[in-house]
Amino acid sequence: MGRYLAARLLQSLIVVVLVTTISFFLIRFAPGDPFSFVGDFPMSGAVRAQLRAQYGYDRPVPEQFLLFLGNVARGRLGYSHSMHRDVGTIIAGAVPRTLLLMSAALAASFAIGIALGALQAVRRGSWLDRATSGVLLLFYSIPDFWLALMSLLAFAYWLPVFPAGGMVDQVMHDYMSFGGRVRDIIAHLILPSLTLALLSAAGIARFQRAALLEVLPQDYVRTARAKGLGERSVVLKHALRNALLPVITLLGLSLPALVGGAFFVEKVFSWPGMGFIAANAIASRDYDLVTGTVIVGGIMVAVGSLLADLLYAAADPRLRAR
């Protein structure tokens, strides 16, 4: 197990270095730089040239890359010109916000997906199965930004029951009691997390349905029924438990998204997480912030994949034995 872990860690490190290198060069080869456009009144050429020289962006790109590697090795991710902060500080602030959003979305999507998948499998071929499949396929096909906009319009504009974005009430939050603050955050969390949950619940439900359909004809399920157990108990305690393995794999694969964030959904709902800052960083050619988010995102993807493997091993005794 130790050698396996070491090999996986090495693999992950290589992936992170490769992704970082590619993003470093890609963003520099894109048109513009952090000073090419910073607002409505463009800088003069002289000021821009001076700033490029001051921050070393006038040097050859390979030289910039070596400097960057040296800084990363010392734990410095650089300075964000669009947010005027140390990149590490910005990411440290954004990761918990994204974790909150994505864990709520992940929990909701798996709860919805498993429940609907199980229901479909039990009622296989019925109108409920067909109707649920149709609705889930619809959600699966919708682009995330469109569903985000529609849910925003529906529940924050036409029927204003939820706030239309942000993470907290910008004025009142500081004046609320502790309970009030928690409720405020939950109110702001519901729309973006449900949007994300609906988008991914469809895939989970299909996985769950297929897995349960494979398990239901098994001998041990028949034995459970023959022992006189109720159908509810047979499905929930015997069949569903064994049909969860593929869904756990799916959960593992979803873990990296916990910190990667949801680019468009965070932007539409002004949720200040990793996706939100990465989107703004790319648009403003904020070199250090782009590479910083890629490094942290890459590490988290690697850790997520590793966790998924470990989770899978924990769930399947046959894998542990190997």
Binding site: A30, P31, G32, S36, F37, V38, G39, D40, F41, P42, M43, S44, G45, A46, V47, R48, A49, Q50, L51, Q54, Y79, S82, M83, H84, R85, I90, L149, L152, L153, A156, Y157, P160, P163, A164, G165, G166, M167, D169, Q170, V171, M172, D174, Y175, K267, V268, F269, S270, P272, F276, I277, A279, N280, A283, S284, R285
Partner: protein, 525 residues
Amino acid sequence: MVVAVASDASSIFPPHVTDQIGAAIRDNVYDRLADMGDEMITVGDKGFTPHLAERWEWSPDSLSVAFHLNPRARWHDGQPVRASDVRYSFRVFVDPKVGASVSSEMANIDSVSVRDSLTPVVWYKHRRPEAFYDFVYQIYIMPEHVFQGIPGDQLRTSELARKGIGSGRFRLNRWDAGQRIELVADTANYRGRPKLDRVVWTIVPDASAAFAQLMGGQADFLEFVPPDQVHLLDSSKAVRAAPYPSLQYAFMGFNQVDAKNPSRPHPIFNDVRVRRALSMALDRRAMLQNVFAGVGRMSYGPFPRTLSFADTTLAIPPYDVNAAKALLDSAGWREPTPGAVRVKNGVPLRFSLLVPISSRPRVAYSVIIQEQLRRVGAQVDLDQVQANVSYEREFKHNFDAVLHAQFTDPSPSGYKQQWGSGGVPPNGQNWLSYRNPAFDALLDSALIAGDESRVRGVMRRAFQLQIADAPAVWLYDVPTIAGVQRRIRTAPMRPDGWSIHLAEFTIPPNERIARDNVGLANANR
């Protein structure tokens, strides 16, 4: 009051402000010596009203002006405002290491001296009708005791530059980068306490989300309501439309130099007949109606109509497709077969049109322009890109034609930067590389014209010359329509910044909601 905006301020430190959000914060946190006044007259000092300076007096030779500071003026940290702060501010603005966005406009200012602790004296190199404006409008006064010791090239990244310690009627209370900026009333301000306790700028990058926030009551003020959504405000009981004047005008510009080799003239647009023909082939009125419905305003030339020297009586090439075709024929661009793309010496009349995709009106205009120019035998390839890519390409002359929205300065001096020969990038914002010595001379004349009516006369001639040269098709004055909750009573909103009179915005006590009444209890002191 909660203001929804699309992006964060890049800086609020006056020399580094380059966007409207930063400008709004700067205008309320920092003070000028005097304010230009709502008439925006840049000649002389007649329209200016006292701010940090209670009064001022010119020297007999008009080469210096002594300002008498208001002795009650205090920085937000409690220190008094001194003449040395004025001298320091000037030095910062002109320090090349600081990289101020307006440093080139300080060329006529020689120095600032300190007569006594409350009397700074500004010295000019030459007498100029806009000498007063040059200093007073461009330079915001900053506290020397806060920033002294920080090298000029480090001010951009200095934490102190983000603290916003000024003398304005609002204090910066909080700035969460990328999320919000919060101003609170400076209750003991020498110009009086603002009528609002607190103003929060909240960053909402998605336009639809920002609009939903306004309509749902989460935001009180939306700076720019998309033209196609203005009608929704008319039927709202809670929100109203508040149009305000703008200093921005939009045009389709023709690059005068070859995109591949800027030292050579553009192969198509070098000929004024082609530029005029393309201008005449475009039905500007129909486009305006199509894109903006009832809220658009047609452009009368290379200026927004809010400028004091704007002239709406100038003759612009009329919409006349047949005349446009004839002009193209006479310029040698002929249709090989009816309806085909015109050709001259084997070169097709085909060019790309650079369009920033973030601007919905300009994207809509580009599609109509493509279709209208197809009818006269010109093929337009739409080149829709991110806004910063568009600026980058304009900066490097790497485009054929562009749909551009230009912010201008209230003074003719801004035109030197934007249309004068000396303003061709990298020196200025003459993106089209438009050059006409007669136009340059007229601009110079406008800058030395002694009174507003003479400025207007000279600028009229300059504009007419420019319209005849047709470096661009003048499309529209960028409509700025804010959405405001009805309980907010706005003060006059100026073209150079809707928030200049923010301290006079008010909410009647009987219409206040919970967030209007939270007071200043949690404001940092």
